[in-house]
Point group: C2
Chain length 250, copies 2
């Protein structure tokens, strides 16, 4: 299957490709179609008309680019980041298969952050105008889309909490537990994984310097909580991490 050939195609839609869109996608339980009926998912299929690859290091979209679509990650891993006028940047999230990117663009018809692939990735483009149209016809899709946006608000509330009140140790424990849980939901091991991001990116997300991330990894390892080796992380004492996260230790 040559996905590349699809890249710039618009109507008429390629039917073979569409078959593999939502209805047959193994991510449908955690992606936009979650909770929709078979028939409704076929409705959704109509709007996902371009699959695209994004190479590691490339941007899916950038700040101030015109907004016209949201994206579902089919495979791969992304970071999103915002940048200050003087060049410092803040990683606002890491996204993996089944998650939705680009909702920041709706508010002002242009994107408000950069979405950068941290590994070669594949995404489904969902033109916003199609989504709007189909949401009018499929109320459960409208509702589900609202849920997806609301959950992004909730997630960001959680990050504000991390950054505002937690100590560096607690933040890193929270980060590891969250990553583990999301990987697990996708059928990967909850206990062992390879990080896709650098210490600097983790640090940016968690509001600390890369040296602090590195030191805390070493400390967690010394305490028997995890095993780390470069990108490899193995969780050895989840309960211990939870205690740090919940601030039972200090």
């Amino acid at each position: 299957m040559k996905t590349e050939s699809l890249r710039l195609r618009s109507a008429p839609v390629n039917l073979d490709e569409l078959k593999t869109a939502c209805a047959n996608c193994n991510l449908r339980e955690i992606c936009l179609p979650a909770g929709l009926s078979e028939a409704e998912i076929h409705g959704l299929d109509e709007l996902v008309y371009v699959r695209k690859k994004v190479r590691r290091g490339d941007a899916l979209y950038r700040t101030d680019e015109a907004f016209d679509a949201i994206y579902a990650i089919r495979s791969g891993f992304f970071k999103t980041r915002v940048t200050t006028s003087d060049g410092r940047d803040q990683v606002t999230g890491f996204s993996m298969a089944g998650e939705i990117l680009g909702m920041d663009g709706i508010g002002h018809d242009k994107h408000n952050c950069d979405a950068i692939a941290l590994e070669d990735s594949e995404i489904c483009t969902i033109p916003y105008s199609n989504l709007e149209k189909i949401a009018l016809e499929v109320p459960s899709l409208q509702r589900h889309f609202h849920k997806v946006m609301s959950r992004e608000i909730i997630r960001e509330n959680g990050v504000m909490m991390l950054l505002g009140v937690m100590r560096a140790e607690e933040r890193l424990a929270a980060f590891l537990l969250n990553l583990s849980q999301r990987l697990n939901a996708r059928g990967y091991s909850a206990l062992e994984f390879n990080l896709r991001m650098t210490r600097e990116e983790i640090g940016s997300y968690l509001g600390m310097k890369l040296e602090t991330v590195s030191r805390l990894f070493s400390k967690f390892q010394a305490d028997g909580l995890i095993e780390v080796n470069q990108k490899y992380v193995g969780l050895r004492n989840i309960e211990g991490l939870r205690e740090i996260y919940a601030h039972h230790t200090r």
Copy 2:
């Protein structure tokens, strides 16, 4: 007009009250109806069926309460906050007239934060089921609601930036400039205002301690940037505040 008598009323809707809902509301330019046509606003009116007062210190809603409506602030001032398992809390935002509260509830059908009135306030209740229904009939309302949610995501991105990369001074300057700009958009002075929140609440929002907030207010005053006296704040050098915000000084 006895608004109190409306509190627990449901259908049939009181027509006199409805007249004063969106179509005649002086907030319609900055509230949910912004950008809708006259006819569309009358559609919106149908769904705002309860006006309610919230006394200073009382909650409009609390974490884990069942979600069934979003709220437009008609007058007054709110904070939203999330709380950790061990009781520390993080103020996630301050909201004023024309702004929408409660979108955090959609994601999991229950609220994810507390919304507390910082002064006696009046809100318009917009039952979510009505909003969903009318959004299906009024596409521009659907689109506008998406924008409101997206802008909340954008706002939170900005707060993550504040908390993640900025120094205490920059955060406080950003806070003052943002407050000034929003008050100004509502017809109040951009240069003088009375804070509705305590130093502790500002500190919680900005990820610093109340003593730090107080010290920085004093420092800004000593530097001729502002004049502060308890809740009163006068901005004396907006450009100077912008420079601090943009990190041109250090």
